[in-house]
C-alpha cells in the first residue's frame, strides 16, 4: 500500500539485499498469494503451488547458514519477509516457522553430523520440520511433559503423545521434547530433545485437528508408542539439555509470530482504508466521518509501533544478545494489535466485513491464533515481568 512502504523497508541488517528481497516477496504476495488465499483457505487445502514457489524462491533458507544451503541473512530481513507473506495469508508463515525454529536450534545445539544431515533439507523447504513441546497436560508449563525416552543400547525408546503439532501431518523431522529422567529435580535437568524422523517405527500421526482459522498448515496429534530413535538423533548428543535447547527456539518462533501479526494487521488496515473511501453514507465517503477516521488513525499508529518493535527485537536477536524481553514485548504487542485491527477493520466494513465475500473475516479468524500460540499472551506478560524484576531488582 502506498505511503507505508518506506517504513516497511526499514531493514538495516542486510543493506540493499534485505530491501530488495522484501520488495520481491511483496510483489510475489500481491500477484500469487492475495488473489488465491481466500479460496484456498476456505477449501482447507494445503497450498501446494504456493509452497512450491516459496521453496523455489528460497524463503525457508533466509536465516540458515550459507554452509548448509541457506542465505545467512538476518532475522530482521526474515521478519520483513514474514510480514509480507502474512499480509497475504498468515497460515503460510506457519509453514515456514517450524523449519526456521528447527534449523536455528540444530545449528546452535546440534552435532556437526546432525547439522549436515538435517539443515540442507530444512533450508530449501524440501523437508518439513516440526517443533513439538505441547502435550495434553503440558502447554505453558512445558516442564510438565510426560513423554519419556529411555536408552536401549544404541537407541532410545520414546513413549507419549504430542499435541497441536503444526505441519504435523506432512512432517519429515520432528524436534521433540522428552524426559530422559522423569524424576530429575529441577525438572528441566531431566529433559532431552530428539530429532524424530517420520518413518520411525512406533511413530504415528493420530489425527489432524480442525481450527477456527490458521488454515494452510495442518495441526496434528502424534503418538509415540515404543518409538525407536537412534541415539545419534539425540540433539547435541547429550541428555538433560533439551529444555534450554527447545526454549531457545521459542524466541525465533516469537519473531515469526510478531511479524505475521504485523502483516495481518496491515492487511486488515489496507482493506479498511480502501473500503472507507469507496463506501458512502449520508452523502459522503465513510472515510470523511470522524468515527471512521479515529479508527484508521489508531490502527495505522499501532501497526507502525508493532512493526518497529518487531524489527527492533529481530535486530537484538541478530546482535547475539539476550533478547527474550525484546522478542516477548514484540510478540505480545503485535499480536494484540492484530486482534484489534482485524475487529476494527470489520467494524469499518460493517456487515460486508462479516461475510465470506471479503478477506476481513479471515483476518478476524486468524488473529486470535497469534495471541494464544508460541506462548499465550498471558504467559508472555509473566515472562516479561519476571525479566523486568530481574533487571530492576531492588536489594
Amino acid at each position: 500500500m502506498a505511503g507505508v512502504s518506506d517504513v516497511r523497508e526499514i531493514i538495516a541488517g542486510d543493506g540493499e539485499t534485505g530491501v530488495e528481497i522484501t520488495r520481491n516477496v511483496r510483489r510475489w504476495v500481491d500477484e500469487q498469494v492475495i488473489p488465491n488465499a481466500t479460496e484456498l483457505e476456505h477449501s482447507g487445502e494445503f497450498p501446494a503451488r504456493i509452497h512450491a514457489d516459496m521453496c523455489e524462491m528460497g524463503i525457508f533458507g533466509i536465516t540458515f547458514p550459507e554452509s548448509h544451503g541457506g542465505l545467512g541473512l538476518s532475522f530482521e530481513t526474515y521478519s520483513a519477509v514474514i510480514e509480507e507473506i502474512s499480509r497475504g495469508w498468515m497460515g503460510l508463515a506457519g509453514i515456514i516457522n517450524t523449519n526456521v525454529i528447527d534449523g536455528w536450534i540444530i545449528d546452535e545445539h546440534g552435532t556437526q553430523e546432525q547439522k549436515d544431515r538435517f539443515l540442507p533439507g530444512l533450508a530449501t523447504g524440501e523437508k518439513q520440520g516440526c517443533f513439538t513441546i505441547t502435550e495434553p497436560n503440558a502447554g505453558s508449563d512445558a516442564q510438565a511433559i510426560r513423554t519419556t525416552a529411555s536408552r536401549d543400547a544404541d537407541d532410545y525408546i520414546l513413549n507419549g503423545n504430542k499435541l497441536f503439532v503444526t505441519n504435523g501431518d506432512r512432517g519429515d523431522v520432528y524436534l521433540a521434547m522428552t524426559k530422559t529422567d522423569p524424576s530429575a529435580q529441577p525438572r528441566h535437568r531431566g529433559i532431552s530433545a530428539f530429532l524424530v524422523e517420520k518413518d520411525t517405527p512406533g511413530f504415528s500421526v493420530a489425527r489432524t485437528i480442525d481450527k477456527l482459522g490458521y488454515k494452510g498448515p495442518e495441526t496434528a496429534e502424534l503418538f509415540l508408542e515404543d518409538a525407536r530413535v537412534p541415539a545419534d538423533n539425540l540433539l547435541g548428543g547429550s541428555e538433560g539439555r533439551g529444555f534450554q535447547q527447545m526454549i531457545s527456539g521459542l524466541e525465533i518462533g516469537r519473531i515469526n509470530v510478531a511479524s505475521r501479526a504485523t502483516g495481518v494487521a496491515q492487511a486488515a488496515f489496507d482493506a479498511a482504508i480502501v473500503y472507507a473511501q469507496q463506501r458512502e453514507t449520508m452523502g459522503q465517503q465513510i472515510a470523511q466521518h470522524q468515527a471512521i477516521q479515529l479508527k484508521l488513525a489508531e490502527m495505522a499508529t499501532k501497526i507502525r509501533a508493532a512493526r518497529l518493535l518487531t524489527r527492533d527485537a529481530a535486530r537484538k536477536k541478530d546482535s547475539g544478545q539476550r533478547s527474550d524481553l525484546d522478542v516477548g514485548m514484540a510478540k505480545l504487542f503485535a499480536t494484540e494489535v492484530a486482534l484489534e485491527c482485524s475487529l476494527e477493520s470489520m467494524r469499518v466494513h460493517g456487515g460486508v466485513g462479516y461475510t465470506k465475500e471479503l478477506p476481513v473475516e479471515r483476518f478476524y479468524r486468524d488473529a486470535p491464533l497469534m495471541a494464544v500460540a508460541e506462548g499465550t499472551n498471558e504467559i508472555q506478560r509473566i515472562v516479561i515481568a519476571r525479566r523486568l524484576l530481574e533487571l530492576y531488582k531492588v536489594e
Binding site: A2, T17, I21, M57, G61, I62
Partner: protein, 267 residues
C-alpha cells in the same frame, strides 16, 4: 548464444490513479510518494526471453544495459537477480531530457562498445511513455534485422523463429542472427528472482558509462540532441454525466432513450 537486453526503470504502472501527478509547468511526471519505481514489465519479459534463449542454447551470456538516472540501477539489479550475467548503466547528466532517438543512439553506441551480441532484446515499449520505438531505432542504427511485438521466440540452430502479434492474428517469421527482437506481454510472465540471486545481484558491480565513454558529444544526447519537442504535458480529465431515462414502461423508457440519443446526435 549471447544476448543483450535493454531495460528501463519506470514509475510503477500499478500506481493508483489518484497518486499519479504531473507538473504541467515543468512538463514532468512527479514521482508518487512512497511508491518505488519498477522495471518496465515488458522489459522484465524481455529479460525472461533472453534467459530462455541462454538456457536453450546451453551457453552464452545475458547482459543488461539501462540508460537513466541513479534509479535505473534497480532495473539492472532486478534483471541480474532474475539471472542475467552483467549490468551496464548509461549514466550522465548529459543524457537527461532525451527522447527515443537519443536513447537509441546512446544504447547503440554502448552495444557497439560491448560488441554486438547474437540477439538484442527490448520490451515492446516502455510502460511509461508507451512509444515503442527505441528497439526499432537501435536496429536501424546497427543495421540489423528486427522483429517487433513478439509473443514467442524459439532458437532454430543459429536462426531465430518468432511469432509476432499482429492485428488479425499471429505472424511467424524466421530471422538470422544477429537481430533485434521486441517482446510483448503475450510472451508470458517473467520468473520471480530467487532470494539467493537477489543477494548475489546486490553484491555485483554494475559498470557505468558516461556519454564521453561512448564517444558521444553532449550535444548529441539528452535534451540537446532530442528530436521530439514537447509542447504540453497534462492529465486528461474526463467528465462523465449520467442521465437516467425515466418512464413507466420499458417502451416509454426505450422511446426516451431514442430521443436522448437523437438529441445528442448519436442517432
Amino acid at each position: 548464444m549471447d544476448v543483450i537486453v535493454c531495460v528501463k526503470q519506470i514509475p510503477d504502472p500499478e500506481t493508483p490513479a489518484a497518486a499519479f501527478k504531473v507538473d504541467e509547468a515543468a512538463m514532468q511526471v512527479l514521482p508518487a510518494q512512497g511508491i518505488s519505481p519498477v522495471i518496465s514489465p515488458f522489459d522484465a519479459q524481455a529479460v525472461e526471453a533472453a534467459l530462455r534463449i541462454k538456457d536453450a542454447s546451453g551457453d552464452g551470456c545475458v547482459n543488461i544495459i539501462s540508460l537513466g538516472p541513479d534509479s535505473a540501477r534497480d532495473a539492472i539489479k532486478h534483471s541480474l537477480a532474475m539471472g542475467a550475467d552483467e549490468g551496464y548503466h548509461l549514466k550522465d547528466d548529459a543524457f537527461e531530457g532525451g527522447d527515443a532517438w537519443t536513447t537509441a543512439l546512446a544504447l547503440s553506441k554502448a552495444i557497439q562498445h560491448l560488441g554486438v551480441p547474437d540477439v538484442l532484446i527490448f520490451g515492446r515499449q516502455a510502460a511509461d511513455w508507451d512509444q515503442g520505438t527505441v528497439g526499432s531505432i537501435v536496429a536501424e542504427l546497427l543495421d540489423l534485422p528486427s522483429a517487433t511485438v513478439l509473443r514467442a521466440v524459439e532458437l532454430n540452430g543459429d536462426r531465430i523463429t518468432v511469432s509476432r502479434v499482429v492485428a488479425d492474428g499471429f505472424e511467424n517469421i524466421e530471422l538470422p542472427t544477429p537481430c533485434v527482437l521486441t517482446i510483448s506481454n503475450e510472451f508470458g510472465d517473467p520468473r520471480y528472482p530467487q532470494l539467493r540471486q537477489i543477494m548475489q545481484a546486490a553484491r555485483k558491480q554494475v559498470t557505468e558509462f558516461t556519454a564521453a565513454d561512448l564517444g558521444l558529444d553532449p550535444s548529441e544526447v539528452g535534451a540537446a540532441g532530442a528530436r521530439v519537442q514537447m509542447h504540453a504535458l497534462y492529465q486528461p480529465t474526463s467528465d462523465v454525466e449520467v442521465e437516467i431515462i425515466e418512464g413507466d414502461t420499458p417502451e416509454e423508457k426505450a422511446a426516451g432513450l431514442v430521443n436522448a440519443l437523437r438529441e445528442a446526435k448519436i442517432l
